[in-house]
């Protein structure tokens, strides 16, 4: 904003210093995590500040091949997380994009349904842990990908619908009316006109949901207890229950479990403001 010298406030100095200090702490923690992952464990324990004496990928290789002690196949967990996340995201998109479109049309029923989904946002997943786990196991879906994908979809669909409704509400009505004049059915309008113009909402929903799903811990711990399905977050925790923590291998695992988020941030950074703002303001 315009900063005429006459309005320059002395208060800026502590505020700027505070922002800079916070920023340095973020950068430092990030670089510390990355360079520590190249150290050997004795090196790490001797001094956790120091830079690695040489770049060694040993921790990564051990993690990826499961040659840690005890064996923790981080590579496998990453793949499992990729399957669970993509399955959940696809499910969330398939439900909430059409649902948001329908709910953006005004009628008594759509308003009622909208408030229903709004209220669902406030049902906290930890509060329904026990019966949900028993429902999933009762359906024979314990320790399976689908058994965690379905709850993840259910947790994230309500907020996604609210977002997608807000998005379609801001959609120009004239376009749709023109399409109807040309004789397209409601379904035709959605498939041929609205959907192709809406990669933005797909990106927004991806931004909001991918971190939720990738980073989830509680349900993953309870529902995924075998190595062939366990995701990366509970996988990383196995290190802490192992005796004599292998910090350097943990750090390599942490970098790998953050990597998708980092890549994701680099790609979508420009859209994140838009996505989060739509959620918080427009509703």
């Amino acid at each position: 904003m315009g900063d005429g010298p006459s309005n320059f406030s002395i208060l800026r100095i502590p505020l700027y210093l505070w922002v800079i200090a916070w920023t340095i702490s973020e950068l430092f923690v990030f670089f510390w995590m990355v360079y520590s992952s190249f150290k050997t464990n004795p090196e790490f324990l001797r001094n956790i500040w120091s830079l690695p004496s040489s770049i060694n990928f040993g921790n990564y290789i051990n993690d990826l091949t499961g040659h840690t002690s005890p064996p923790i196949p981080i590579g496998q967990y990453l793949l499992n997380s990729a399957v669970v996340s993509s399955g959940s995201i696809i499910g969330i998109l398939l439900i909430s994009v059409p649902a948001g479109y329908v709910l953006s049309k005004k009628s008594r029923y759509t308003d009622l349904l909208f408030y229903f989904f709004l209220a669902m946002i406030a049902i906290p997943p930890p509060a329904i842990l026990i019966p949900l786990v028993y429902t999933v196991r009762g359906l024979g879906l314990g320790n399976s990908f689908i058994g965690i994908i379905l709850p993840y979809i259910s947790f994230n669909v309500p907020f996604s619908i609210v977002l997608s409704r807000a998005f379609f509400k801001s959609f120009p009505k004239e376009l749709e009316e023109a399409a109807r004049m040309d004789g397209l059915s409601d379904m035709g309008v959605f498939l041929r006109m609205v959907l192709p113009l809406s990669p933005v909402i797909v990106v927004i929903l991806l931004i909001v949901n991918f971190p939720n799903v990738w980073n989830e811990l509680l349900y993953a711990i309870v529902l995924l207890q075998t190595n062939n399905v366990r995701t990366i977050q509970p996988g990383l925790l196995l290190f802490s229950s192992a005796f004599g923590s292998q910090w350097s291998e943990i750090f390599a695992g942490m970098v790998m479990s953050s990597l998708p988020m980092i890549v994701f941030y680099i790609i979508f950074q420009r859209y994140i403001v838009k996505a989060q703002f739509l959620g918080a303001l427009k509703g």
Partner: protein, 269 residues
């Protein structure tokens, strides 16, 4: 979604009146679970910690976000962009990862914080067990979480500030208002609806911590950092007290319920 959210919600209420170990059929025991809850010191500790968490997190996280955003808003565009990108970054990291990082930072022997305190001569402070101390532990975990998530309110408040017409500031400046009073008298009132929504969202998303507490302390030492979600998990899946754990879940649900009203209201316009 009905199967995976609403049905379990009803179940959790009905189970909370049962005695159930998971192996035999649940037995109805009325309100005994709840009566026992309020005589259970661990539950009371978890409840108190959870209240501390909600209140401190809501206030500190959003205040930090507000001041970060307020400061970025009066900076040059390019530097504000740089700071915004860096400050939001940790929001996306898995909380397990951030918790491990802080676990290492807080370690009294090899940890960065204590060795730094020792290095600058504060040897007495330099042996503080940030996570091992009964009184400090929950605040240490809270701090790591606020550090991680302050970028979220910052991002949204910043976007809201940039939507305010600069003409308003010009008028205020002509009247001799300082930057400080522009912040309090114009910017904050202008984005009030956004602040309410962000409060509701941070309440919903951050009032039942699990990953941070579980990764750093598992509720320890003793039960000093126990929160409701870790206690539910412990009672249900190591103690096999499903009825009792359901009663705790009901309390968990009640903590978040008031926000529904706030939230639905903020969308009514």
């Amino acid at each position: 979604m009905l199967i995976f959210v609403l049905y379990p919600l009803f179940q959790v209420f009905s189970l909370s009146f049962d005695n159930w170990s998971g192996f035999t059929a649940p037995v109805y025991i009325g309100l005994s679970n709840f009566a026992f809850l309020f005589r259970d010191p661990v539950f009371l500790q978890a409840l108190a910690n959870n209240f501390i968490w909600v209140i401190v997190f809501l206030v500190a996280n959003n205040a930090a976000g507000l001041f970060l955003a307020g400061t970025l808003d009066i900076m040059g565009k390019r530097s504000a962009r740089f700071f915004r990108i860096v400050l939001y970054f940790s929001v996306l990291l898995p909380s397990v990862v951030v918790s491990y990082l802080f676990l290492a930072l807080y370690d009294p022997n090899i940890g960065l914080i204590d060795s730094f305190l020792r290095a600058i001569g504060l040897t007495a402070l330099g042996s503080t067990e940030w996570l091992g101390n009964f009184h400090l532990t929950i605040y240490s975990i809270l701090f790591s979480s606020i550090w991680q998530y302050a970028g979220f309110p910052m991002l949204i408040f910043l976007a809201a500030f940039s939507g305010i017409s600069p003409a308003l500031y010009e008028a205020a400046r002509l009247d001799g208002a300082s930057e400080w009073s522009i912040f309090w008298r114009i910017k904050i009132p202008m984005i009030r609806p956004v602040i309410i929504t962000v409060l509701a969202l941070t309440w919903i998303w951050n009032s039942m911590p699990f990953a941070q507490v579980w990764t750093m302390t598992q509720g320890g030492p003793g039960h000093a950092s126990e929160v409701l979600a870790t206690y539910v998990y412990r009672e249900a899946f190591s103690g096999f007290q499903f009825g009792y754990a359901s009663a705790i879940s009901v309390i968990l649900f009640l903590i978040i319920f008031p926000v529904v009203v706030l939230f639905v209201r903020s969308f009514e316009k």
